[in-house]
Amino acid sequence: MFKKNCFKKGLWFIGCCTISIMSCHNDSKPCRNQRGKLPILGNKDITNQGDTIYPTIRPFTFTNQQGEAVTNQTFQDKIYVIDFFFTSCPTICPKVTAQMLRVYEQFKDNSKVLLLSHTIDPKRDTPAYLRNYANKLGIMDAQKWHFVTGEKDSLYAIANDYFSIAKEDPNAPGGFDHSGRLILVDKARHVRSFCDGTKPDEVDCFMRDIENLLKEP
């Protein structure tokens, strides 16, 4: 009888401890793509001949922080990570930029990986403004991380290709609405992975996806 009682108490004690530990401990979620080939994202089309056509990023021409043209050619034979931001952004941009900086630090010596940040406020964010912003982040090499501006409509349109959001919205803080996603694009201009750039643990997974994509021929 005594033994049984003690055992029961012990169970209660262990139960309570487990609940208390679990309730405070934030287990990091496992990554979406555990291993294997990254999928090509987006709805595919199948032609009459039976070929599968995956969505690709449309041709673009923007201007970077050095005043140089940045086009699809700039990213030929490279994989690249993009985001949308604006320099006067009062909300999530600095948080996302801090995560872009992590990606930059991780892959700065790998010439196969480039970064591309699009402003969604081209009126204010001239190349000079963007250069100033980049320099303050410690990015002196515009060939590695392009901060670009351009025609407002083309900037907003290309956000669709990246499955991101960029638009003017007078009700949003700072006057623009945009998502904080980071998006990974392969050599064939297909979107292969994305993450929420405000969540460092998602970015951890995202960086593993970049490593993974680098292994593809």
């Binding site: 941009c93 303050k136 410690g138």
Partner: protein
């Protein structure tokens, strides 16, 4: 039966003890809603773009201006720990003096890690806010 209750109460205390690491609950929530996106969860700032709040001499030197600074935002150059920053800080006019007090104290104690003698009183913040009108 009696023991069960005792163990459960004990368990609840463990939960409270383990989770409750910060007395400034409202300050913490306000900080993560209004400050952390730019200044960082730990107040580390962002390179030369956004100044740190962690061990920041600015908080000490401009103590009296801090309530107004949150209420009205700032434009123009400031110097923090010997570095110059130009990024504009947006105003947060919807915070009450009480909320500003809580967030300032959270910043002082948990982010800036200064000693507890330097906490703001609600009166002090209310007076500070009158000066900026």
């Amino acid at each position: 039966m009696k023991y069960r209750l005792i163990y459960c109460i004990f368990g609840i205390f463990i939960v409270l003890y383990a989770c409750n690491d910060n007395p400034y609950k409202q300050g913490k929530i306000l900080y993560s809603n209004f400050c952390a996106n730019c200044h960082g969860e730990k107040g580390e700032g962002l390179k030369n773009l956004i100044p740190p709040l962690l061990q920041s001499d600015y908080l000490e030197q401009h103590r009296d201006e801090l309530p107004c600074l949150i209420h009205k935002g700032i434009k123009g150059e400031i110097e923090v720990n010997g570095k110059k920053y130009q990024q504009e800080m947006p105003a947060i006019p919807k915070l009450s003096f009480f909320e500003i007090t809580n967030v300032l104290n959270y910043i002082q104690l948990n982010i800036n890690q200064s000693d507890s003698k330097k906490i703001f009183t609600a009166d002090e913040v209310e007076q500070g806010l009158k000066k900026c009108e």
